[in-house]
């Protein structure tokens, strides 16, 4: 009985094993195909991962992550990322002056087409905390300047130390002056005569930012007061070239980003500018103090800007004597200026292109003789009002063609109107 049961079980099992062992050629081929397809799928997935790693980088891609999910605590891959960064910007400016001044007399100005500036940015990131950044500029096709060159050392993720040739952190244009960034063929007058853009000196400082604010505070070799003029502070820039460093100044800035696109801020500078010069046996101080309030709003096609700046100069009588200036040619004791500017992108609603066409208007006033020293006279020619009507056409975000008509008026009716065109780029 037992033997019969065993036989009845063993025989079918053996039969099944025999049948399964004897495969048809079709079954063998199907199994081989399945193996090859699985192998191909693994290879394709491996290639996809390799492409992802090449695209995003080793540091981002989790090399040990599995296909079916992530471990709860994948270890961070620390790796130094470094490299050379190159950029640049430039602009060519054509200026066409009116033949007559505001009072009808001959302007005497010659039209000009200038390869105003071509710039090469180069930077090198040594690691996540340490980098070098620089701007080398060719002005008027033949003058070469180092416009800034500094080392940044990040003390924390939000605070860093900066040393080298620094851009004075004042106003809206001094640090950000690539042509596609601002409206107008020329920089605002206040940011030329009161804040002497592009103002750079050698120094060291700290910078930082939070989600809503950014700030910078530097100490830099001061301006050279012996180079000031009745037209403002611009001549006092030493540009880092064997700069006299008998006097240092403090430059500081604070910006508040009220909402993305709206920036409100203030900046200041103070420092003696005598640079060791003596008059009648005593050192000339010549302290310059500059204040600025500024606003920038760019959202929903609007481009609005406003800035107010004021500068005071101490010991003006001594500086005037030092330079040999007299009468209405003296340096102003107080200077001030402001501008308001508004533009709107007419192509804002055109979604299939990145190009923009922005008509704009700017109204500005600057006076480098708001007050003068006792014994000197203020010149009304230094009280300048300008209204500019123009456009900026950007076929791409980083390229701009600008044109404007500037109407200049002075207190002595010596203003000269002009038409300007600019082609500018940034990369």
């Amino acid at each position: 009985m037992t033997s019969s049961i065993r036989t009845s079980l063993i025989v079918p099992v053996l039969f099944m094993l025999l049948v399964s062992a004897v495969k048809t050629p079709e079954i063998v081929a199907q199994q081989a195909d399945s193996v090859r397809i699985a192998e191909l799928e693994r290879n394709v997935e491996a290639l996809a991962r390799e492409l992802e790693r090449m695209d995003l980088g080793d540091v981002v891609v989790d090399l040990d992550s599995g296909e079916k999910g992530f471990g709860p605590a994948a270890s961070r891959v620390y790796k130094i990322e470094s490299g050379l960064s190159i950029g640049g910007y430039g602009e060519f400016l054509y200026e066409n002056y009116a033949g007559k001044k505001q009072d009808g007399s001959a302007s005497g100005k010659t039209d000009q087409f200038d390869a105003l500036r071509a710039i090469l940015y180069t930077g090198y990131k040594f690691n996540d905390r340490l980098l070098f950044n620089s701007e080398i500029e060719v002005e008027h096709a033949k003058e070469i300047y180092l416009e800034f060159a500094y080392i940044d050392y990040m003390l924390t993720d939000n605070v860093g130390m900066r040393a080298g040739m620094l851009l004075a952190p004042l106003g809206l244009t001094n640090e950000l002056h690539e042509p596609p960034i601002f409206l107008g063929t020329e920089r605002p007058l206040t940011e030329n005569k009161i804040i002497p853009t592009t103002w750079r000196e050698n120094g060291i400082g700290l910078f930082g930012e939070t989600e809503t604010t950014s700030w910078r505070i530097y100490t830099m070799n001061s301006l050279n007061g012996a180079k000031f003029s009745s037209s403002g502070l611009r001549g006092g820039r030493q540009k880092g070239a064997k700069a006299k460093a008998e006097n240092f100044g403090i430059a500081a800035r604070w910006d508040y980003i009220a909402t993305p696109g709206l920036l409100l801020g203030a900046s200041m500078y103070t420092g003696n500018t005598g640079q060791g010069a003596e008059l009648n046996g005593s050192e000339v101080g010549g302290r310059v103090t500059i204040w600025d309030l500024h606003m920038d709003y760019k959202v929903n096609g609007f481009d609005l800007r406003a800035l107010w700046a004021h500068a005071s100069v101490k010991d003006v009588d001594k500086l005037n004597q030092l330079i040999g200036l007299a009468g209405s040619s003296g340096i102003g004791e107080a200077m001030g200026g402001w501008f308001v500017q508004a533009g709107y992108d007419l192509l804002r609603t055109k979604q299939d292109t990145e190009s923009a066409f922005i008509p704009y208007v700017r109204h500005e006033r600057v006076n480098t003789h708001q007050a003068v020293a006792s014994g000197y006279s203020a010149s009304a020619s230094k009280d300048l009002t300008a209204i500019s009507l123009g456009f900026a056409w950007k076929p791409a975000t980083q390229v701009v063609f600008k044109g404007d008509y500037q109407m200049h008026e002075t207190g002595t009716s010596s203003g000269i109107n002009q038409i300007n065109f600019v082609v500018g780029w940034l990369y």
């Binding site: 992802e52 981002v60 992550s65 999910g69 490299g83 924390t156 700290l206 989600e211 979604q351």
Partner: protein, 182 residues
Amino acid sequence: MALLIFQRAFFCVAVSILTATQFLSAQTLTITEGVQLAFPGSIVERKTFFLNDEQKEEARRLAGENIPIDNNLVIPYIAHTDGNPVGIAYFDAHRVRTLQEVIMVAVDTEDRVIRIETMRFQEPPNYRAPGRWMAQFEDRKLDRDLSQKGDIATITGATLTARAVTAAVRRVMALHAVIDPL
């Protein structure tokens, strides 16, 4: 005299910060860290999609603004909670000025952006987009306002970054629409 005292104090503060500061972590995030920021505690499924020419063309059309889309491969990371999909994370690498940036764009199951995160940024840190600016993209779908011509403001001092990130978000959202990973 006051200036001299101020300058000395300035240097003292700078040196003190320099010596006292503890270095914080590196600024690069991994995919795992990024996905867990967007979908905490989720289980993540990685998928691979290969695009044909028609799909790429459709993605370009949806992205608009001449945004380049050369991807042949799209890799969504689908987050699951309790077995149900809760969102998808995509990673986009692009150039800012000369060097690369990688961002994560996290999308919910209703095709809305829920988080943007900078994963890696190789340009100088002052060009990096702040988190508050990135928050502009949250709760937005791919439409005409998801653009610097629309509601997305630029970043003062970091125009190229603002443009690169905005283009990347539009590119990701267009690819998301084309592959429909869920």
